[in-house]
Amino acid sequence: MTLREMGLFALVALLILGTGVVQSWNAALFILNYGLISAVMALGVNMQWGYAGLFNVGVMGFVALGGLGAVIVAMPPVGEAWAAGGLRALGGLALGLGVILGAVLIWRRLGRGRVRALAMIGWLVAGFFLFRAVFDPGVAAIEAVNPAATGYLGGLGLPVLIGWPVGGLLAAGAAWVIGKTALGLRSDYLAIATLGIAEIVIAVLKNEDWLSRGVKNVIGVPRPVPYEVDLQQSAAFVARADALGLDPVTASTLFVKLAYTGLFATVLIALIWLTQTALNSPWGRMMRAIRDNEVAAEAMGKDVKRRHLQVFILGSAICGLAGAMMVTYDSQLTPSSYQPLRFTFLVWVMVIVGGSGNNWGAVLGGFLIWFLWVQVEPLGAFLMGVLTSGMAEDSALRAHLLDSVAHMRLLTMGVILLLVLRFSPRGLIPER
């Protein structure tokens, strides 16, 4: 690491510490923890874009799938719902999968011609209605079980930390499907395809109540760290907090956040080590060679499409992991909170600003852009307050300007992205 890079990281650390001093340590830890999660997402996107030049604008979908993974693993199972229609719904899903596999088989086995097309369409239509006939009653039965509190299948009731890799696996599965279809075509097509899959994942989470409770949200996802209330009741903890001069309530919230910081930092450090090793290995050199000149790499005998698929799946899995971490941190899955501007395009800003192709750059971008994303709003509110202070108290324009401050962040992010692309296209920490 050069002096400049260390300086940049020190600057980010200073910014977060400054938040602690000026605002509150709680806010600073919030930024730090989300910064860690953002850095993981940025690492995932950097693998796809920086290593391989794949343009994935469906980050949101993979993040949301990861969150679903955490829910499926950690929430307690709802026995009644399983008894009511669990097997039927799962059977329906298996049937649906079978129909699709059958269609693929028909396509491969039958010879070219009208017979094949008709057979496949007929098979798919019949399969669709069969699927709905098996699946729908199961879903209705599950959703009828105490809809206000559960109304879904619940999870496996395992420790939530197991959900993190599972979330990554779910995202990897989706990435495999997308990659199989859209990789190998021109880069814009992959972008549109990923944009589409992200919207579909969110639509599924919002509408399939049996799976994720839909817009009713899953709340109270079990934590890997102690609860504040338990800490406040533990005599040993209160005594220790007293010794530090903190009241138990503040001390417990800080302690919980710090525990998360520890967990997330462990994941991030492990990932940095892994990605750095991968980047500097022959595999990493091969990826960059493919990125810089696909034709030459292909001539050297590299299977470009396969490598692209591989790195696409890996990067998406990391995004899924970050999504599972985020749901764990929030203790809830709220499908309606997934917005492409926040979860896809913001991560892109992080990677580009930090420096695509450089893992340290992606991590730096994750922290820095997340910090700005959080702080632009109070800063903008302050600026707007100063700007409008000369206007009349009851001026409609003033009220409108003050109300619109919330949208400043989109504007700021766009301006930052364009400025970096124009004047420093390789980012703050360029690829070596």
């Binding site: 669709f128 549109i192 944009l195 992205l417």
Partner: protein, 336 residues
């Protein structure tokens, strides 16, 4: 009689809404496809360009309404449309000057331009929300229906009513005029020919003395017209909400790709393919089937293939099918 009723129900709930929606998508996809053909990148800011043009039109509409100016039975927004188009054209030319031109001169890779357009998208999105707010706005006024359901029932004595909203009629008429004008322009005028030449073979066009900056500027102006008209028509027909316009990006791109990126005719066909599949697959067919099937076979459910929330899935699946089996689209667009 039953057959007629079924037909009317079908026209009322599928044919007319899908045609209007298809026209709106086609106009949007034409903009995307033109930018792709001339500037050679997928413009992610297109949905937000539509939102910007519509926003200016809405603001001018409100101003006109406050002055008491209306168009009688037609929506006032039509009167405000030229202002919206002018503002959007200025905005697009300014973005080209400040942002895109630099990368064009550098001969940057298309994917870099796509990322740049993402930055423009952020800014436009923020700007629109900043000025008009993120909420729903309705700005349609004038006559609501060309044919209302009740009049139709009285007229024909059928049990089913057929309603044609004036915004739907307006959409279709406007779209036909705009598309006809565009094709006339591209086919017969000197400038249109130079645009097509530039799109087909940039080097050859440059050699024959076509000024690339002029072609690009005219493209942006045409895109401003298409985007604003598409946005205003969509807003009149449904309602204006910045986030919805951002989400329109997916069906619009799907339409452009299904038709073949870079092919104007394909964009129109793609728009209707996407719109009709979306509407037919998310429509509850019970109302139509009730008339067609004997009582004993009457369906108990709604006979809706997919819930309306999955309409994105429909455009996506069509997109995937086209990508798998015919990657250049129905009309053989460019595949660079």
């Amino acid at each position: 009689m039953d057959l007629l009723n079924a037909l009317v129900a079908f026209a009322n709930f599928v044919l007319i809404p899908a045609t209007a929606y298809g026209a709106q998508l086609a106009l949007g996809a034409l903009g995307v496809t033109l930018i792709y053909g001339i500037l050679r990148f997928s413009n992610f800011a297109h949905g937000d360009t539509m939102a910007f043009g519509t926003m200016v039109t809405i603001l001018v509409t409100w101003w006109l309404q406050s002055l008491g100016v209306t168009l009688g039975p037609l929506p006032t927004a039509l009167l405000a449309l030229p202002a919206g188009i002018a503002a959007t054209a200025l905005l697009l030319l300014a973005t080209d000057r400040v942002v895109y031109r630099f990368y064009r001169e550098q001969k940057a890779k298309p994917v870099i331009l796509v990322i740049v357009s993402m930055g423009v998208m952020f800014i436009l999105n923020g700007l629109v929300r900043f000025i008009i707010g993120p909420d729903d706005q309705r700005f349609a006024d004038g006559e609501r229906f060309i044919v209302s359901a009740r009049d139709f029932k009285e007229m024909t004595g059928l049990a089913e009513g057929l309603a044609i909203r004036s915004t739907q009629g307006l959409t279709i008429v406007t779209a036909i005029i705009v598309v006809a004008a565009l094709f006339w322009f591209l086919t017969y005028t000197r400038t249109g020919k130079s645009m097509r030449a530039f799109s087909d073979n940039e080097d050859l066009a440059l050699l024959s003395g076509i000024n690339p900056e002029r072609v690009v500027a005219i493209t942006w102006i045409i895109v401003a017209v298409l985007a604003t008209v598409a946005g205003v028509l969509y807003g009149l027909d449904k309602s204006f909400k910045p986030f919805t316009y951002f989400q329109l990006l997916l069906p619009i791109f799907a339409a452009a790709i299904v038709g073949g990126l870079g092919s104007p005719l394909g964009a129109i066909a793609g728009g209707f393919v996407i719109a009709f599949s979306e509407v037919t697959i998310t429509y509850a067919w019970k109302k139509v089937l009730v008339y067609l099937l004997p009582d004993s076979l009457e369906p108990d459910g709604l006979v809706q293939l997919l819930s309306t929330d999955y309409k994105f899935a429909v455009s996506f699946v069509i997109l995937v099918i086209v990508l798998l089996f015919r990657p250049t689209g129905l009309f053989r667009g460019k595949a660079v």
